[in-house]
């Protein structure tokens, strides 16, 4: 056994650190926090120029051919540095789908711009009536002589305000079982009939509702077969290569330690208190476990090992632990803990208070904890299916 990511990852990590020291500014982080838009075009372009945007792609497709363990190092450094990379994440996820499922014409139209960092894309899967049950999408796409007419509404279309395209899951055949009547499109966001409406969130992140009224979409923007949209979504899951290791909860612990070690006028510090020590140690242990579950998933991917529901376990454990850690650590701060980022007396710069609000969404997005538990119970433990179809 060997629990080190390895020399390749270490070397890449050093490169990424150097990149971040050069290109990521405190102003960018502050700006993302103020606007709630976790995307910075300047940083995005620099990431593209350095080749990090699609670092996990094969070289012949414009990537760097990095393995999943190197990708863990990249993700860790980005997260620990606080880089606003939501745009990188969604754009790459969609670009990967295009690489595997889109026509050559569409790939040539979009992917070169993506790799240059000029094109940003966002996700249009969820709807007001379909979240976890994503295959129940109602947004309609109907064929006409010019292409397809799209009508409907999407929810949580984060970064639509800065994106060039949205990937849209639509219903093309209402007469068949729900998974069989879906078709995927890549829709230019400047198409007439699209309205983007901001939706503010508890975590300060700005997301959107997007409305589609008689939007004309040319057939060349179709991804995969007509009524084959579900297969396209599965492709994204199969080729999900972004690794997770240390993450937001490690930033949180670092913030809390900074606060706990602050010595007051009487030479006392919170870290001398056994209650504080217990909570900090608890978080340190759970962070180590979350990291290892992430490493296990990446290692399995790198070695094409059967990994079972390890991805679900990692997501479930990391997000649930983060929620608990943020709540417990905020409580330790006492009355000053209510103060927010920007107030001069806010402990740890207000970042623990912020984490407590932000954490709530992590057990909801990218598959709720309940969805993850069902996957683990069914695929990992072999228990009977407990959801509807």
């Amino acid at each position: 056994m060997d629990f080190r990511l390895g020399e390749k990852s270490d070397a890449f990590r050093a490169e990424v650190r150097e990149f971040l020291a050069r290109h990521l500014t405190g102003e960018m982080i502050e700006q993302a926090h103020i606007t709630g838009t976790y995307h910075n075009q300047e940083l995005h372009r620099a990431l593209a120029e350095s080749g990090y945007l699609a670092a996990g792609w094969p070289v012949e497709h414009g990537g760097q051919g990095r393995d999943p363990l190197e990708m863990v190092a990249l993700a860790e450094e980005m997260t620990l540095a606080g880089a606003p990379t939501d745009g990188m994440t969604t754009t790459l996820m969609i670009a990967t789908i295009l690489r595997y499922c889109a026509s050559q014409e569409l790939r040539e139209e979009v992917l070169p711009g993506v790799l240059k960092g000029e094109i940003v894309m966002c996700l249009g899967y969820s709807e007001p009536d379909s979240g976890s049950d994503v295959a129940a999408a109602k947004t309609r796409a109907v064929r006409d002589e010019a292409g397809w007419r799209v009508n409907g509404q999407k929810m949580w279309t984060s970064l639509a305000q800065v994106s060039d395209y949205v990937i849209l899951l639509t219903r093309t055949n209402p007469g068949v079982p729900k998974h069989r009547g879906l078709t995927m499109f890549l829709v230019p966001l400047d198409s007439p009939g699209i309205e983007v409406k901001a939706l503010e969130t508890l975590g300060g992140q700005r997301t959107n509702m997007t409305f589609y009224t008689d939007v004309l979409v040319a057939d060349r923007y179709r991804i995969g077969e007509v009524d084959g949209g579900w297969d396209v979504m599965q492709t994204a899951l199969v080729h999900e290569r972004s690794g997770k290791g240390r993450g937001l909860a490690d930033r949180l612990l670092a913030d809390a330690l900074g606060w706990a070690r602050t010595v007051d006028h009487a030479d006392a510090a919170p870290i001398d208190d056994p209650v504080v020590r217990l909570e900090l140690a608890r978080v340190a242990v759970r962070n180590e476990v979350a990291k290892l579950l992430g490493y296990q998933a990446a290692w399995a991917a790198a070695n094409e090992e059967m990994s079972g529901p390890i991805g679900s376990m990692g997501k479930l454990f990391a997000s649930e632990s983060y929620v608990r850690a943020a709540a417990d650590l905020l409580d330790l701060l006492g009355s000053d803990g209510v103060l927010q980022h920007g107030d001069e007396d806010a402990p740890a710069g207000g970042w623990i208070e912020y984490a407590h609000r932000k954490a709530a969404v992590t057990t909801i997005y990218q598959g709720t904890s309940e969805i993850q538990r069902s996957i683990i119970a069914e695929r990992g433990l072999g228990l009977p299916r407990s959801r509807g179809r």
Binding site: L69, A281, L292, L293, N303, F317, E370, G380, L383, P384
Partner: protein, 348 residues
């Protein structure tokens, strides 16, 4: 990075699992509960080399890594082995670190039908409190003041009634002349002893992982076969989701335990390589929490029958409490971990 087991390691797991599956059935565990010790199982384990494999080759042992030993401990936990295996392995490795002059003592202990064990608490008023295996052990290693000592030729201690049905007993650190050997004295004694305790934590964590796996297997099997309201109870999310949390924590505990064991390096060569005490402590607290979480959940899944002594889950439930707590409560261990991770309180 390599998170998989080698072919040799997989073979080791298979053979020790086979030995325990035959010789540590829950029926056998129940038979051994009064003494907390199964002499026939112990003989088979020692013949297999479960203790000697952990001794360095230079001292005549198998030179196994702590990862190998953790894999064996995990299986011992899985089958609730009625024997102080972890304590014996740690004691043997500690003796081997005390220099070639102690090899005769080690050889004698390894050849004996009575286990050798480590005392988990420093002697207070010349008494080692609640020594695991103390009611059956022929040799006890422990720290008495500034001395690391071995006590032999002493009648095993009086067994104490305990939740884990373990062979716990107090042992004297000041027996009759001739049976107390000072192995190390001064600072090196404490360093060697603390290192051994870190090994004990990592291996006990492994045993708890195995125990938790056994309890989870029972729960899953019961959830699939027990029907209420016309369906298997495992189809209810209130139950299946709790078990999914258990499976997740168990996977994490197993990884953390193996990481801790791996940190001890490849060869116990006596050079003072004690791995990461912080990782050993982390593995210990998390495996203990997880084993207690899973055995409680498994008991609950069994409904009223989970509370019946005839149902096996209670065997797991009681040991999940006893195995870690005979050393320390979990919160107290978190305080030790905090010292290792953040430095001692009050020190600037």
């Amino acid at each position: 990075m390599d998170l998989g087991l080698s072919a040799d390691q997989r073979a080791l797991v298979a053979s020790v699992s086979s030995l325990l599956g035959t010789n540590s059935t829950t029926a056998r565990v129940r038979q051994a509960e009064e003494r907390g010790f199964d002499p026939d199982l112990w003989r088979r384990l020692t013949e297999f080399g479960a203790v000697a494999m952990g001794v360095p080759e230079a001292a005549g042992g198998g030179g196994a890594t702590l990862v190998d030993l953790a894999l064996v401990a995990e299986q011992a936990g899985r089958y609730l082995a009625s024997a102080p295996l972890v304590e014996a392995v740690v004691a043997a490795r500690l003796l081997a670190r005390c220099g070639t002059a102690r090899y005769a003592l080690l050889d004698h202990a390894l050849a004996s039908t009575e286990p050798l064990v480590i005392a988990l608490h420093r002697a207070v008023q010349s008494t080692f409190r609640l020594v695991p295996g103390g009611a059956v052990a022929g040799l006890v290693v422990g720290l008495d003041g500034a001395d690391l000592i071995a006590v032999t030729d002493q009648a095993p201690g009086r067994a104490r009634a305990n939740i884990g049905s373990a062979a716990l007993a107090d042992r004297s650190a000041a027996p009759a002349a001739g049976s107390r050997t000072v192995l190390l004295a001064g600072p090196t004694a404490a360093v060697a002893y603390e290192g051994a305790l870190a090994e004990w934590k990592a291996l006990t964590a492994a045993a708890l992982v195995g125990l938790a796996q056994g309890a989870l297997d029972l729960a899953v099997e019961y959830a699939k076969t027990r029907h209420q309201f016309g369906v298997p109870i495992g189809s209810f999310q209130a139950l299946s989701h709790r078990l999914a949390d258990c499976a997740t924590a168990l996977e994490g505990a197993r990884l953390l335990t193996r990481e801790a064991a791996w940190s001890f390096g490849a060869e116990p060569d006596g050079s003072g390589e004690f791995g990461s005490p912080a990782l050993a402590s982390m593995a210990f607290v998390f495996a203990a929490e997880t084993a207690q979480q899973i055995t409680a959940a498994s008991l609950h899944v069994h409904g009223g029958m989970g509370f019946a002594m005839e149902t096996d889950v209670q065997l797991f439930f009681r040991r999940a409490q006893a195995w870690p707590q005979v050393y320390s409560g979990i919160r107290a261990e978190y305080q030790r971990l905090a010292d290792l991770e953040f430095g001692p309180a009050g020190v600037r």
